[in-house]
Amino acid sequence: MNRKIIKLIVPICIVVGWELIAMSIDNPWKLPQLVKILSIVTHPNNSLLGTGTLIENTYYSLKRVVLGFGLACLIAIPLGVGMGWSKYLGDLFDYIVEVLRPIPPLAWIPLIMAWLGLGLRSAVMIIFLGAFFPILVNTIEGVKSISKSHIEVAKTFDASDYDIMRKIVIPHSSPYIVTGLRIGMGIAWMCLVAAEMMPGIAPSGLGYLIWQANTVGQISIIISGIIYIGIIGLLIDRSFKLIEKRYFSWREIKQ
């Protein structure tokens, strides 16, 4: 049987099962029919529960992610290159990174709220924390894995340190960095939604919409929000995979 068809079997069963159960329960406060959810999802410009439309909330969520993620890139990539390249810098930051890295970003929420107050800054900070460590760790890993002979090749051509960085270190590490970005972005996106559910932290965004829908028991809006989060997360992940495939195909080639 065609593999595409096999892959579709389970989703179709779930959809049909859902619809059958929803019709038999006949209670939209517990399990709304899919048509109802579909009509919300396909009308992203309708205002929902006074929190704005799905599009608007998606925009706010994305804005926070872009800010927090961008900030994480700006700090984690240079720091990672430095820590991977220089033993001294690596040792200097080693303990603090190892201690902070395993802490779930959401555990910081109370502290962040106490220090930064409510609002955009706090949301951005949580996303920053989520994205920072995967980017940092992958960048370090990339720089550290450079083969010594590749650097020596450049040295036999009298390359300066700047040239070695530009022509050897960065091209070698880029695939690792992009993998870090992809993982970091995934975690950032998860942190964001959780952060937006915190009371008072950000009165907009998909997480906030879901939480508002929860307080009024609007299951179909909750599920619509979840679908948007899922689709956008998937699109982001796919974009990074496309970049990896397009620019780093030299890694995959086998003789």
Binding site: S149, E152, K155, T156, D158, H172, W250
Partner: protein, 243 residues
């Protein structure tokens, strides 16, 4: 005419157990202009260290390396493991040295294309190293070292990983390259047959700490016949001098 003089070279490493290891000691020899010099010696002796010092990748503990005319010269280096950059195509790997010397793009193109043609790499310009066979990778690695037109080409057991047939082909090609480009070559190998086929002169090193044990001059006409009596006699002579 002399080209390069290695004088009283010594290299000492500190091993992991903090003891001193002398890799090279009392090393003295000269290299003539346009000479093909092969250096053979037991494995684990300081052959590679010696070459790395000449290339400037390592500093000697004491001793000097001097060019006859006192100025600096371009040196090309072919690594044992090729060290091709996997993210660069064959063309871009070869172009690296010229890029680093800030040469204009069209000039780079001219030189690289010429070399690609000469080295039999035509049609493989856009292949990544992993897509190339061992022999082709080696050609790219040699081209990359040659493209800067070095007066001295250093080769560190470049053919050791190749099968015998490919090795013979590349040895023949290397002689052609050397005859055409007229550079001086120092070629390290532990394969005596290879040394006798390639070299004008063979230096035989001792085991660690390495110094020059003997030298054998080979004045057989090229291309050399590996099965001739002269060839075999020189082989025997060299083998008898390797510890």
């Amino acid at each position: 005419m002399e080209k390069l003089r290695i004088k009283d070279l010594e290299k000492t490493f500190i091993s992991e157990k903090k003891s001193k290891v002398t890799a090279v000691r009392d090393m003295n020899f000269t290299v003539k202009d346009k000479e093909f010099l092969c250096i053979v010696g037991p494995s684990g002796c300081g052959k590679t260290t010696l070459l790395r010092i000449i290339a400037g990748l390592e500093k000697p503990t004491s001793g000097t390396m001097e060019w006859e005319d006192g100025s600096d010269h371009k040196i090309g280096f072919v690594f044992q493991d090729d060290a091709l950059l996997p993210w660069r195509t064959a063309y871009n790997n070869i172009a690296l040295g010229l890029e680093l010397s800030k040469m204009p793009k069209d000039e780079i193109k001219k030189k690289v294309s010429e070399l690609i043609e000469f080295m039999g790499l035509k049609g493989f310009e856009n292949s990544y190293p992993k897509e190339l066979s061992g022999g082709m990778q080696k050609r790219v690695a040699i081209s990359r070292a040659l493209v800067i037109e070095p007066e001295l080409l250093l080769m560190d057991e470049p053919f050791v990983s190749l099968d015998a047939q490919t090795r013979n082909v590349l040895q023949r090609e290397l002689i052609k390259v050397w005859e055409k480009r007229q550079n001086t070559i120092i070629f390290i190998t532990h394969n005596v047959d290879e040394a006798v086929y390639l070299a004008d002169r063979v230096l035989i090193l001792t085991a660690r700490p390495t110094m020059v044990n003997a030298e054998v001059i080979i004045d057989l006409p090229r291309p050399r016949d590996r099965t001739s009596n002269d060839f075999i006699n020189i082989r025997k002579k060299i083998l008898s001098k390797i510890e």
